[in-house]
């Protein structure tokens, strides 16, 4: 457990935004290397919807535009000034503003990137009319950020943020609560509907919550916003400035002292983890959690949406006769009953990145359904996505799922199939063919 205080991060030099964090985005630059920017100045925008801009989280100089394969923009790196200056977007009271004004302010500040949609799990289209907006107040992923602690200093911003969201839809704003009593409940009074979700992961996934409150049908749109992002939107209206600061958790078995830190969106990884990792063993830095996060290097940058950094040991090791059932139940966790892990449920495991097998065809049936708490047939949906069968994907509920809903299937699959990747590709195909 990280220690219960939020430490301020040391000074850092560089920050970056990576277009790859925004699925389906084709970025077009607004700046050139050498340009000076303040917090809130646009760095790039969405080619298909130029109103959606992605703004600089720091005031400074655009240091580098890094390009990858096919000249795609890999990242835009900004070198931060010692003093931070902010672009003024004007203080606003969401209760007394029109939907159009609210949308304009969010778009101009670059905060629209926080508003994602289901289906497809991409940035929402401002022209859409969502039937509802969903916020999950807790994250049930392993070692994830505890928002009831890390956001407790941002209560007012959360409330204002909810008021903003309520203006963006004709329907309701739904906030999913976990079993602990937290400040989220009182913040929602009069603004949002609350529903309590008690149980193991993926209870905190907004997709699971949507499926239980009001499942998505073909042709409908719902919008989802992460709890911490709600506070950033709230701060925008309360202060008039884009406040791109997160309280993140630095966790994982390779972190010497797991702790919460205040960081800037896109902050350089080096400044966050320097001196805090056990360097005696090869490790992997993950921006995000172990199930859905992305691998980053020491010179990388924290992901736009990520609220934790997990550092775990790399598992490039062989295990002699490791496939024998029941042996090694204390060191390698298994959700299946071919191991005694269920007897050691209080043991803290230190999982590494070993695949624990090789990729095979889907053989075992029934294992995926156990970790999919929606009215979806996961194996059949995966096969439809693999077969690029659009009609079948529609029938089986591709509109209701996001890749993160298949992260547990990634984990437990005895055939080591890459379920999240398959669903992502299925969704991309739907976007292309159906829209």
């Amino acid at each position: 457990m990280p220690s219960p205080l939020i430490a301020k991060m040391e000074r850092f030099s560089h920050c970056a935004l990576k277009p790859s964090d925004f699925k389906g985005l084709t970025p077009k630059l607004n700046i050139k290397e050498g340009n000076e920017v303040v917090v809130g100045d646009p760095l790039f925008h969405d080619k298909s919807n130029p109103k959606i801009v992605f703004t600089s989280p720091v005031a400074g100089v655009v240091d580098k535009v890094v390009r990858g394969a096919k000249r795609r923009i890999a990242s835009v790196v900004v070198k931060a000034n010692k003093q931070q200056t902010f672009k003024d977007f004007g203080i606003g009271d969401p209760k007394n503003s029109s939907t159009a004004t609210i949308k304009a302010k969010i778009l101009e500040s670059g905060c629209w990137a926080f508003i994602k949609q289901r289906p497809y799990d991409i940035i929402a289209n401002p022209a859409d009319q969502p039937k509802a907006i969903f916020v999950s107040s807790f994250d049930s992923h392993p070692l994830s950020n505890d928002y009831s602690f890390s956001l407790s200093s941002k209560k007012e911003d959360f409330k204002v943020g909810l008021e903003v969201l309520s203006k963006l839809t004709e329907g309701d704003v739904h906030v999913g609560l976990d079993q602990e009593v937290s400040f989220f409940e009182s913040s929602c009074e009069g603004i949002a509907q609350t529903t309590r979700f008690i149980g193991k992961h993926p209870a905190g996934n907004v997709g699971t919550q949507i499926a239980h409150i009001n499942p998505i049908n073909q042709g409908e749109r719902v919008w989802v916003v992460n709890a911490q992002d709600v506070t950033i939107i709230g701060a925008l209206f309360r202060t008039g400035n884009y406040m791109p600061y997160r309280n993140i958790a630095l966790v994982g078995s390779q972190v010497d002292n797991p702790c919460y830190y205040q960081v800037t969106i896109g902050q350089g990884m080096g400044s966050i983890i320097r001196g805090k990792i056990d360097e005696t063993h090869p490790y992997r830095i993950i921006s995000g959690n172990v199930l859905t996060g992305s691998k980053v290097t020491k010179d990388g940058f924290i992901g736009f949406y990520d609220n934790e950094i997990t550092v775990i040991p790399e598992g490039k090791i062989h295990r002699f006769l490791g496939w024998i059932p029941f042996v090694g139940s204390r060191s390698v966790h298994s959700n299946s009953r071919t191991s005694f892990s269920w007897l050691f449920s209080k043991t803290a495991y230190q999982p590494n990145t070993n695949l624990n097998g090789e990729e095979r065809a889907m053989v075992v049936t029934g294992e995926m359904e156990r970790v999919m708490p929606m009215d979806i047939y996961p194996m059949q949906l995966l096969k439809a996505a693999l077969a690029k069968d659009i009609e079948k994907m529609e029938q089986l509920g591709i509109y209701e799922v996001a890749p993160e809903d298949f992260a547990l299937i990634d984990y437990i699959s005895s055939s080591k199939i890459e379920a999240q990747e398959i669903i992502r590709e299925g969704i991309d195909l739907m976007i292309k063919e159906v829209g």
């Binding site: 790399e314 090791i317 071919t338």
Partner: protein, 380 residues
């Protein structure tokens, strides 16, 4: 262990891309991964993975088959000597059976894995663990007097046509072990049925009768073995199928580990029981009069319900589908058994038939899910 690892690491470069034996990489990797879980790390998706993999699943099934296998080997000796009127110690009977059964296992794994290796190398994919279980199942459902060459041909047919032609492990329509048995049954019928093949030397020695219980009933005679014999397995039959007790132990292991579907096992028993009851109500001949609950104890019914019907690839894949699938297997198994005296082995036919219909069952079960979704859309 370290020495073994060093040896594999020393020769691995020969099989990697650009190495001299690059083509034979699947073969090398099959041996490497037999001893060591590979050091592959996650490249995409979830960064950590469960400890379970297909090897572990297959090994669990093999563990479940061990009681029936050991009993089966002992029973080979027991049937032979007890019918001669001789009584021999446990170990001697076990050894007698093992000497005759192990060559069958060797041929099964040798031919089967050989073909799998070949296909892995030709197609350029890793050798899958699918045959680890089928390789043991096939000799267990064959009569002990079956010539080894016949077994080899059946195995080749099963792996080539029953599995690889469809795309290998995970893609087959039928249970490969039953494809082997069906092939042998139809191609070499005299060696696969009748009363000379189920006990060693039954064809050559006068005092030994290889007749099974179902064979006796089909000839409209009453069965002479006691129910206790049927349950414990002191009866003639194919090597693995006779002892319901040993099969139940295996079933318990499969259910507790979550590897075998209890839904399929239970629904098969229920279907068979129902059909047995219906026939008991008519009671026109000996087969029909055979008590419904004893049907579950003889022939390959128990073995089929626990180890064959539960093969996840060829069975129904949805929860509801498994109930329907198993139930129909039970019904058809007893139906074929009773109506067709020439096929005392209705279980094999029933399972192969339902293998064909399993996707249809799933189609309608999933159809209900699709309809629910459409209904929700209409309601909005």
């Amino acid at each position: 262990m370290k020495f073994l690892r060093k040896t594999f690491d020393k020769y691995k470069p020969l099989f990697n891309k650009g190495g001299k034996f690059e083509k034979f990489a699947p073969g090398f990797n099959a041996f490497d991964t037999l001893f060591f879980v590979p050091d592959h790390t996650t490249k995409t998706g979830a960064h950590i993975r469960d400890g379970v993999d297909l090897k572990r699943i297959m090994v669990t099934v093999i563990f479940a088959l061990v009681p029936a296998t050991i009993f089966g080997m002992w029973n080979i000796g027991f049937q032979h000597f007890s019918q001669l009127g001789e009584s021999k110690p446990f170990l001697e009977l076990l050894l007698y059976g093992a000497i005759r059964f192990m060559p069958m296992v060797a041929v099964s794994y040798g031919v089967g894995l050989g073909i799998e290796f070949l296909f892995g190398i030709i197609r350029g994919h890793e050798i899958n663990e699918g045959y680890l279980v089928s390789g043991l199942l096939i000799p267990l459902v064959m009569p002990i007097e079956m010539p080894l060459w016949m077994l080899g041909v059946s195995v080749a047919f099963a792996v080539l046509i029953g599995k690889e032609a469809f795309g290998g492990t995970g893609m087959n329509i039928w249970n490969p072990a039953l494809v082997a048995r069906a092939f042998a049954f139809f191609s070499y019928a005299p060696s696969m049925s009748g009363d000379k093949v189920w006990v060693v030397d039954a064809a050559t020695t006068d005092g030994i009768s290889g007749e099974t219980i179902l064979g006796t009933l089909a000839a409209n005679d009453e069965a002479t073995y006691s129910v206790f014999d049927m349950f414990m397995g002191y009866i003639p039959g194919s090597v693995g199928e006779t002892s319901v007790l040993m099969i139940l132990i295996g079933a318990l292991f499969l259910i507790l580990t979550g590897v075998g579907s209890w839904r399929i096992m239970l629904s098969t028993v229920l279907g068979g029981a129902l059909m047995g009851l219906v026939f008991n109500a008519f009671g026109v001949n000996e087969l029909m009069k055979f008590p419904w609950w004893q049907h579950l104890l003889v022939g390959g019914f128990a073995f089929g319900a626990v180890f064959m019907a539960t093969d996840p690839v060829s069975a129904a894949q949805t929860r509801t589908g498994k109930w329907i699938y198993g139930f129909l297997i039970g019904i058809f198994a007893i139906l074929i058994r009773v109506f067709n005296g020439a096929y005392p082995e209705g279980v094999m036919m029933a399972i192969l038939l339902m293998n064909v219909f399993a996707p249809t069952i799933d189609h309608y079960v999933i159809g209900a899910n699709i309809k629910r979704r459409k209904k929700r859309l209409k309601a909005t």
